[in-house]
Symmetry: C2
Subunit: 375 residues, 2 copies
C-alpha cells in the first residue's frame, strides 16, 4: 500500500505544520496498524503493553514496541525503520516515548497525541515526564486521514464483506428448526474462520421477532416462523468486516413478507441518497422519514459507520455528523426497522461512495427477498 | 455467582472506607463484566461507547449503558437494578456519570476510578464537569479483588482451558506436511468456535524452530521435522482461555527429543515451587535458573499472568511482582526456553494454587512428551 503511506505522510506533515506541533503520536490498535501496516495481534488485548508510532516534523517516524513483539515486528520488514524496543516491567513505554520526543527536539513543545485512546494513568505519567510539553488530541486528524480509502483498501473491504456474507449464507443453509441459538452461532464463527478471517471479534444473534440489537446467542431453540438475524464482526488482514443478514425459518407469513418489502424499499431509498455531498445527519433523517412512511419504527442513535482498520470509523451516520460525504468513503448502512406486530428487520450494507454514486460492496447474498431458511 | 458478588460488595465497601471515598467507578470491559456479570460483546470494540458500573458508599450500584444495549441488558436481569441509559451522540456518558455522582452525594469529593482505562479525553471532560472532585485510580483495588477466584470461577477457567487444549489437539491430529500455517490456523479457530467459545480473540502460530512469540500465521508450508506452536486466546461465558501447545511434525530428532525433555523438567521444577507464600518474582528467577541449568535460554519479561475475566490479571509472574501468592489465585505459567541450535520450546499451563499445592487445570492433553503430528 505505497500510495496509502505516501498520502498519510503528506497529510500528517500538513497537520503538524497547521497545528504548529513537533510530533504526532498514535497508540490505538487501529491507528498503529493503519500507520505502521504491522498488525500486532495482542495489542488490543494487553492494553498496558503500549505500541506507539511517532511522526516527527523533521525525521522519519519511530515505532515503539515491547521486546515480546520484536522478533515478529522485525520479520515483517515494515516501512518504518526506526524501531525502539522497551523491556516490559523494566522500562516504561511512556519514558521511552519521552526519550524519543526529546531526542528529536521539541522546538514548539506541542505534541499531538491520541487523547481518545491514551489512558489517564499513562497521560499523567507523560505530563510528569515532560512537564513543559502541551498535548493536544490528534484523533480528528487521524479520523480525517482514514475516512478516504485507497483502491487497495476498497478491494480488501469488499473481500471482507463478501466473506462474512458467505459465512452467514452457508450458516443459514444448514440451520433448521430445533437448533439452539448457540449451535447456529458456533457454525457461523467456524465458517468465518474457515473462510480466512484472522479473528472473529463479535457475533450477536437475535431470533424470534428480532427486535433487539446487540444480543448474545442463548439457549432458545429456533422454531418454524421465527426470524433470525446474525451480526458478525471480524478482522482479516488488519481490516474489519461487519455485516448482519436477516432470515426467516420457513416461508414467511404474509405480514412478515409485507413488512420486509417495506423495509427493503426504505433501505433502497436511503441508499439512493448516499452520494458525494450529502450529509450523514441528513441520511439519518432520511432513514427516519422513510421508515415512518412505510410504518416502521426506528430508534437507533446511528444507522451506520465508516469501516476500515477500525470498526467504527468516520463518518458516523448519526445526527451529530454534519460534514458532507466525500468520494472514496466506505461505510456501513445498518438501519433496523421495527413493525411492532411483526418484528424487527435489518440488513447491513458496506457501501463505497464513488463520484458516480454509491456502490454496494457487500453483494454476495441477494437480499431483495427475505432469506428463507429451509427453502 | 452469588458468593462472588457478595465478596465484591464487601471488599469495595472496605476500600471506599479505607480511601475515604464516596464512589468507585469501573469502565473496562473486564471490570464491567466482572462486577455486573453482564457481558456486552461490543464493549471492547467501540471504546467511545462507555459502559460503567458505579459503586456508592450509601446506595446500591448503578449501571450506565448506551440505549443500543438496553434491550439486551434488561433481558439479562442482572443483579444491578439501577440502570441508567444514555442516548449515544445525544447525551455524553461522562455527563451521565457526573449526574449520578451528584445525585448520590459527593460528601468526601473523592472518586476512585479506573485511570488505567479511562481515556484522557473523557478524563478531561470529567474534570471539567466535576471540578471539585478528586479522582484516584481504583485499578489496584480491582486487581486485588479479582485475583482470588471462587469455586465457580475455577471450574469455568478449567473448562475454558481444557476446551482450548482439545481444539489444539484436534487441530494437530489433522495437520500434515504441506499444510500452510494459515490452513492450520483456520482449523484451530474453527475447532475452538465449534467447541463453544463465544469469540476467538487471538491466534498466534510459530513453525520451524518456533523461537519467536506473538507471530502471525503466514504462507509457510509445514515440513517434516518442523516444530509447531499455536497460542489460542478466546472468551467463553465472559471468561478467558489462553494456552499454547508445542508439537513436532513426524518423529522428533534426538536433539529435539532431548531439548524437550530438558524443557519439561525445568517446567516441572517451576510448577513445584508454585505454592502459597512464594513470590511471583522468585518464580521468575526460578525459571531463569532452571532453564540455565538445562542449557536453555530465556529472555521473556514475564513467564505468566493471572487469568479470569481479563487476559492478563494479577499476579504477573515477572520481576516486578513481589507480593506473595495466595490461595485460590489462578494463573498461567508460560515460559519459553530456547536451545539456539534446536529451537524454542513452550507449553502454557493454567494453574490453580490451593492450600495443598498447585493444581494444573489445563490437563486435557498429555504434555509429558512432545506431541508428534502424524503419529
Amino acid at each position: 500500500m505505497g500510495k496509502k503511506i505516501e498520502r498519510l505522510q503528506q497529510m500528517i506533515a500538513k497537520a503538524l505544520e497547521k497545528h504548529d506541533a513537533d510530533s504526532l503520536v498514535v497508540m490505538s490498535p487501529e491507528n498503529v496498524f493503519y500507520t505502521s501496516e504491522i498488525f500486532i495481534l495482542s495489542h488490543r488485548w494487553i492494553p498496558q503493553r503500549l505500541v506507539l508510532v511517532v511522526f516527527h516534523q523533521q525525521a522519519p517516524p519511530t515505532h515503539i514496541i515491547c521486546n515480546i513483539q520484536e522478533g515478529f515486528v522485525r520479520s515483517e520488514e515494515g516501512w518504518i525503520k526506526d524501531i525502539r524496543v522497551y523491556v516490559e516491567f523494566v522500562t516504561s513505554p511512556i519514558q521511552m516515548l519521552a526519550d524519543v520526543l526529546k531526542e528529536k527536539g521539541l522546538a514548539n513543545h506541542k505534541v499531538l497525541i491520541e487523547k481518545t485512546h491514551l489512558n489517564t494513568a499513562y497521560y499523567e505519567e507523560l505530563c510528569r515526564t515532560l512537564p513543559n510539553c502541551a498535548f493536544e488530541d490528534c484523533t480528528p486528524i487521524m479520523d480525517r486521514i482514514k475516512q478516504q480509502k485507497t483502491d487497495e483498501e476498497v478491494l480488501l473491504l469488499q473481500e471482507n464483506a463478501r466473506i462474512i456474507e458467505r459465512a452467514l449464507l452457508e450458516t443459514y443453509q444448514v440451520t433448521k428448526p430445533g437448533d439452539s441459538e448457540r449451535d447456529v452461532a458456533a457454525t457461523a464463527i467456524s465458517n468465518l474462520a474457515a473462510l480466512g478471517y484472522d479473528t472473529v471479534d463479535i457475533l450477536t444473534l437475535c431470533s424470534g421477532k428480532t427486535i433487539f440489537t446487540n444480543t448474545k446467542p442463548g439457549d432458545h431453540r429456533l422454531q418454524e416462523g421465527d426470524m433470525l438475524r446474525i451480526d458478525m464482526i471480524g478482522t482479516r488482514r488488519g481490516y474489519r468486516g461487519d455485516l448482519f443478514r436477516q432470515a426467516v425459518l420457513g416461508e414467511p407469513n404474509p405480514a412478515q413478507f409485507n413488512a420486509y418489502q417495506r423495509y427493503f424499499d426504505a433501505l433502497n431509498s436511503i441508499l439512493e441518497k448516499t452520494v458525494v455531498g450529502a450529509r450523514p445527519c441528513d441520511l439519518y433523517e432520511t432513514c427516519k422519514r422513510e421508515f415512518k412512511s412505510v410504518q416502521l419504527e426506528m430508534d437507533l442513535p446511528h444507522i451506520g459507520h465508516g469501516i476500515g482498520a477500525g470498526l467504527h470509523e468516520h463518518p458516523s451516520i448519526s445526527p451529530l455528523d454534519k460534514k458532507p460525504i466525500i468520494a472514496n468513503m466506505v461505510f456501513n448502512i445498518e438501519p433496523i426497522g421495527v413493525d411492532p406486530m411483526v418484528g424487527g428487520f435489518g440488513q447491513e450494507l458496506t457501501v463505497h461512495v464513488t463520484e458516480d454514486g454509491p456502490k454496494v460492496l457487500s453483494d454476495y447474498m441477494d437480499i431483495s427477498n427475505l432469506y428463507i431458511i429451509g427453502s
